[in-house]
Amino acid sequence: MYRIAEKKILNPTVTQLQIEAPLVAKKAKAGQFIILRVDEEGERIPLTVAGTDPAAGTVKIIFQTVGATTEKLARKEAGDFLQDFVGPLGVATELEGLKKVCIVGGGVGCAIALPIAQALKNLGAEVTGIIGFRNGDLVILEEEFRACCNTLTVMTDDGSYGKKGNVTLPLKELLEKGEKFDRIIAIGPLVMMKFTVLTAKPFAIPVTVSMNPIMIDGTGMCGGCRLTLNTPAGKVTKFACVDGPDFDGYQVDFDEAMLRGRMYGAFEKHAHEETCNLFKKEGK
């Protein structure tokens, strides 16, 4: 069992937990992920590590309530325990040698982008941050990003905070002005990553994206997380859990990944409703 050391509600649907998992805290690097189960019989869900405190032995996770499991997880409090917590899994984001990087984060993906921005700052790189949210109420981690980015642009879809529009607008402006990034690192919804790649393409700037598909074990065993890369040598199947989660954005078949993400859509909607009804009943 793994104790929740601290809980913080970042916005109405996004929660941050510090979990006591000393072995994971010692090893995890930016870009890697963990798998957890909330309780016995619970599903295994992958979450990318949002930070670690090796001295305290804690791992930070930030997640959005999207289904039955994240709903249950969001209702846990400091002092409660999680059934299982395993990691770090996947390959850490490759940051060596980068001098000038643009970090593009979308929604809860910003939680994963932040430790990468922080790591880059610690390596002495110049970091440009662009973070986007649906509206002002959903903005998270702005102060933390400001602390590690040389410049930060906050975007909202409805213009209720920061600038109006999606993250590709300021990115395109910067690129058109002639900004030469060594790399763009985009983390967020698949559609956001897809359009970040399309925006960067005319400028031939490398784009790394972080994939977070459906998986079970996280060690390469189930193959559920497979995705297709269009490489110069042809189509190649990769497992996001062991080969990723980072991939060359120009090679990822995003349309296929989006279709695969919908595999259990109907099931998840049903399970989420069931869980909500259960909590409602308990509330009464």
Binding site: L23, V24, K27, R37, E41, G42, E43, R44, A68, T69, Q83, D84, F85, V86, G87, P88, L89, I216, D217, G218, T219, G220, M221, C222, G223, G224, R226, L227, T228, T237, F239, V242, E256, L259, R260, R262, M263, Y264, G265, A266, F267, E268, A271, E274
Partner: protein
């Protein structure tokens, strides 16, 4: 010895009615009654040279345990088996005895061999039902050994070393111990409570089991030595599923057998766990012909599929699954599409509506019929496509069960660990790898094989570890 029972036929195994069991996950084979076990044990001729023992990968003293059954000393029979095997209730169910001990049985020459596996199961189940006392802890020598993976090879190695007094810790990547016995083999062939019981027995022998630790990620092999372990056994299994590399394998509804079985077994979709989604119902096609393919097909049927087909590119004669499993599958209504190979998996695509919820889901498989060539120099008849014989098999779910390859997580983080071109860890006959103090066995070495051969490898390594470390005991 009293006169042997010379009935040429063995006592048949009582089973659940096929029509009933095809829709439940209860165990198919019900096990011998005491009467059947006594009758069957009497069929043993007690051969002096005991050929059956030579067929057993862990060398269980078979005639001796059969003699104990005849004396109705079932606990005595159990004690003889456990001297050689750490998992009798498991092996009695899933060992391919027909290719091992029973293949060597003299009674098999002019009739059916003695039902050794069924008797092993009877003895183990009798013990589990009647004996509750804890095993006696051997004197502890304080030497620490780490075992990576809690599947059959790891549990066997752990059990053998614990019985010799070693301080053993098993590291498991998943949230429950048992490896393939819990994520792979389904409930109707191996009830999970039996695996849990065997694991519990090891715990009582002092074995510590640490779940949620991925060696190669959470800890490395080198760190295990730094932590004070004097030897490490790698039994990490053959994790990575293979795909055919044909178009359409990333469509929704295409599973590896590993994923399908893991969702059903480990994640409990078979008990309708509301948190584990799995595609069920409709038409299911399983590609492959091994035991795992049989498990996947029969699981799909039990989850509610209307129709399940096994698609295999050779003929029934070459089909590698155990005969008993194939017969059970046929009785339950699984269809075998033999001499047939998939060329593409077909999916739904609505060009007018990108939001059509059916987009990206499987609709069928394009297949081509095969014929077997003349035997090649190795005597193998290769399947060759028959030009123009293409046809479409309708399917909503496709399960690829064409094998697995060893997991590279440990290899990639362990300096100096030699592997074969296909990724298997290189070991000598004692199970020692190219690294001092590091042993390996099971599917991590051989690629996908059987539970009992993995147990044999775990046993060999335990013996070698003891021989290497026992001189250091003060």
């Amino acid at each position: 010895m009293a006169t042997a029972n010379m009935n040429p036929n063995r006592n048949p195994m009582p089973t659940q009615d096929p029509a009933v069991r095809a829709r439940n996950f209860d165990e198919v084979a019900l096990g011998y009654t005491e009467e059947m076990a006594l009758d069957e044990a009497k069929r043993c001729l007690n051969c002096k040279n005991a050929p059956c023992v030579t067929g057993c990968p862990v060398k269980i003293r078979i005639p001796e345990f059969l003699a104990k059954i005849r004396d109705k000393d079932y606990e005595g029979a159990y004690q003889i088996i456990t001297e050689s095997s750490s998992l009798p209730a498991v092996c009695g169910r899933v060992c391919p005895q027909e290719n091992q001990c029973e293949a060597k049985c003299v009674r098999g020459i002019k009739g059916e061999s003695v039902g050794i596996g069924r008797l092993e199961r009877f003895v183990a189940d009798w013990h589990n039902a009647h004996c509750a006392e804890d095993p006696v802890l051997p004197p502890q020598n304080g030497i620490r050994v780490a075992i990576i993976g809690s599947g059959p090879s790891g549990l066997t190695c752990a059990g053998d070393l614990a019985k010799k007094g070693y301080d053993v810790t098993v590291y498991e990547a998943l949230h429950v111990a048992g490896g393939v016995l819990v994520y792979g083999i389904p409930e109707f062939r191996l009830p999970k409570k039996i695996v849990a019981k065997e694991v519990e027995t090891l715990r009582k022998l002092g074995v510590k089991i640490e779940t949620n630790v991925v060696i190669g990620k959470t800890l490395t092999v080198d760190e295990l030595f730094e932590m004070g372990y004097k030897a490490v056994f790698i039994g990490s299994g053959a994790g990575l599923p293979k795909f055919m590399r044909i178009p359409g394998e990333t469509l929704n509804g295409v599973y590896s057998a590993n994923e399908f079985l893991t969702r059903s077994n480990l994640m409990k979709a078979y008990r309708s766990n509301p948190e584990t989604p799995i595609m069920k119902g409709g038409k299911v096609a399983v590609v492959g012909g091994g035991n795992v393919a049989m498990d996947a097909a029969r699981t799909a049927l039990r989850l509610g599929a209307e129709q399940v087909s096994v698609v295999y590119r050779r003929s029934m004669e070459e089909l590698p699954a155990r005969r008993e499993e194939v017969e059970h599958a046929e009785e339950e209504g699984i269809q075998f599409r033999l001499l047939c190979s998939p060329t593409e998996i077909l999916g739904y695509h609505n060009p007018d509506d990108p939001r059509d919820p059916k987009n990206g889901f499987v609709t069928g498989i394009s297949c081509i019929k095969m014929e077997l060539s003349e035997p090649d120099e190795r005597g193998r008849r290769r399947p060759v496509p028959i030009p123009g014989s293409d046809f479409t098999l309708e399917a909503d779910t496709v399960i690829m069960s064409i094998g697995t390859s060893p997991n590279p997580l440990i290899k990639s983080t362990t300096q100096g660990l030699a592997v074969t071109p296909t990724g298997g860890i290189v070991v000598n006959e004692a199970g020692l790898t190219s690294r001092a103090g590091v042993y390996a066995g099971g599917d991590a070495v051989t690629g996908a094989a059987t539970v009992i051969s993995a147990m044999g490898a775990g046993k060999t390594a335990a013996k070698a570890i003891h021989e290497a470390l026992s001189p250091t005991i003060e």
